[in-house]
Symmetry: C2
Subunit: 292 residues, 2 copies
């Protein structure tokens, strides 16, 4: 059996810890019953056999498989990883979601996406990556009483993401410590308004107004200062018609949304200006986790 | 000619200064060219001939009419007011919007709703009442560079508002001074998430989830403490199946949204428990300002 989970861009603009969307760049894991335990990795993380992500996967998988079946199964796991590690593209959430989904699939137990999402919340307390990883599309999500409450909007195929992946990470832990402990009322209201408008723009497919709605006063500029090239990334994106150009998660990846016909030109501009960064043109994903 | 403008409930739940919706409770003004200036008022405010609201109307009307025509017109104004004054139902915004709309109508100059909204912003700096007053429906709105950027969702006819209008106001000015100057990051993120989710619930018509999404940590409880009966109003509403039960504007009115079939029962419960308050069952409005 195969489980595949998409990359995600969260913390979208003003939507700190709440807005996220799903990108068609997937990690796959193939699971086969076996007489001995084995793990193979291709793609991202293949060069690091003691990779934390795979330990995390195996631990979560074992917990759930044992809970569901009462025994410890023996499996062969083949990982094909496309989501870059520690770049703000939801690689940890993908590991968590795929591990739980794999345990249910291996145990032959059906699980709803809503339940899967609430199980993932035990391992990742912010809902903005795990929600689109499970559901696909654009999502708003909050946590109340240890449950995720979320709403989804499908993203049309005439839009593309052009993501810029720098050659170094911004540490999430370090990044959080640099953020203020409180916000002035005006700043708080600014983000409340803009995050709500951003949400409404997605639902109404009013893409042009995202250029206003995606503005943030909580975290983005503070984090971008740790990798100042990102200001130039954003400037280039805006110049090339980006509808939205924001930090992905807590970085270091920059997420840019464009009309399909503008994608190639923006991609070339990024490759020319930042030859050491990776730039990818991606479709949006509307499926989330897939069992097959 | 006649201009009519709906009442509005703004500051909706977590959507401080940004989320608002329109109620089918309308102030109308009939304007006729005349050989002498005269004003008559029926309904709300009729017992106060020096009412500030009408001075405000006449001043705004005159400013715009003079700007549009180069002269001071002479008109007879008949006001038929249904929006209660100083109760958080957008009576000031209705005056502002109707005055500007009346000036354009009297001058014979067409004006788009978007332009009307930006003109109204000169007189009312928060967008959450003027936007639904102009546009109708549920709206998210922000202000950037002295312009309102907003998105609208029509509200279906199977939903009703049951508003409870206390016999006394909460002063907006006083009410604002009791609010904190800043919010802890957790509270700020809470409202960003919930306001975004509330917006998505309206667009997805996921009414049941509003019970979670409409929770607020910025202003509601602080303001309700100035009129503690409102906690009992909210409790009654929730008991009777309200989908959403929040302060309207900065109060003192409480806004409750219910399925059509639950409206009468909730209305009776309010009338029985709070005989000195007014309780109204209202349709939502999706038209905003109407020129006729």
């Amino acid at each position: 059996m195969t489980i595949s989970v998409p990359a995600t861009s969260a913390n979208l603009g003003p939507g700190f810890d709440t807005l996220g969307l799903s990108l068609n760049l997937r990690n796959r894991v193939h699971i086969h019953p076996s007489s001995f335990f084995s793990v193979s990795i291709r793609g991202e993380g293949a060069d690091n056999p003691r990779l934390k992500g795979n330990n995390l996967f195996i631990n979560i998988f074992n917990d759930h498989y044992r809970y569901l079946t009462g025994k410890k199964g023996i499996f062969r796991f083949r990982f094909i990883n496309k989501i870059p590690l520690s770049r703000g593209l939801g690689s940890s959430s993908a590991v968590i979601v795929s591990a739980i989904a794999s345990a249910y699939a291996a145990a032959g137990v059906n699980v709803s996406k809503r339940k899967l999402l609430n199980l993932a919340l035990h391992y990742e307390h912010h809902p903005d990556n795990i929600t689109p990883a499970v559901m696909g599309g654009f999502n708003t999500a909050v946590v109340e009483n240890r449950r995720v409450y979320s709403q989804k909007k499908r993203i049309p195929g005439y839009l593309k993401a052009v993501v810029v992946i720098p050659d170094k990470p911004i540490s999430t832990a370090h990044s959080r410590t640099t953020l203020p402990k409180s916000y002035r009322k005006e700043e708080a209201i600014y983000n409340v308004g803009h995050a709500s408008l951003l949400t409404a723009c997605f639902f109404n497919e009013s893409w042009e107004m995202l250029r206003i709605a995606a503005r943030d006063r909580f975290h983005q500029a503070i984090r971008m200062k740790m990798l100042p090239e990102l200001f130039e990334v954003q400037r280039l994106a805006v110049e090339h018609g980006a509808l939205m150009s924001t930090l992905s998660g807590s970085g270091s990846t920059f997420f840019n949304m464009v009309y399909r016909e503008d994608a190639a030109k923006l991609h070339r501009a990024f490759e020319k200006r930042f030859p050491s960064f990776r730039a990818l043109i991606l479709d949006f994903d509307n499926d989330g986790v897939i069992f097959s």
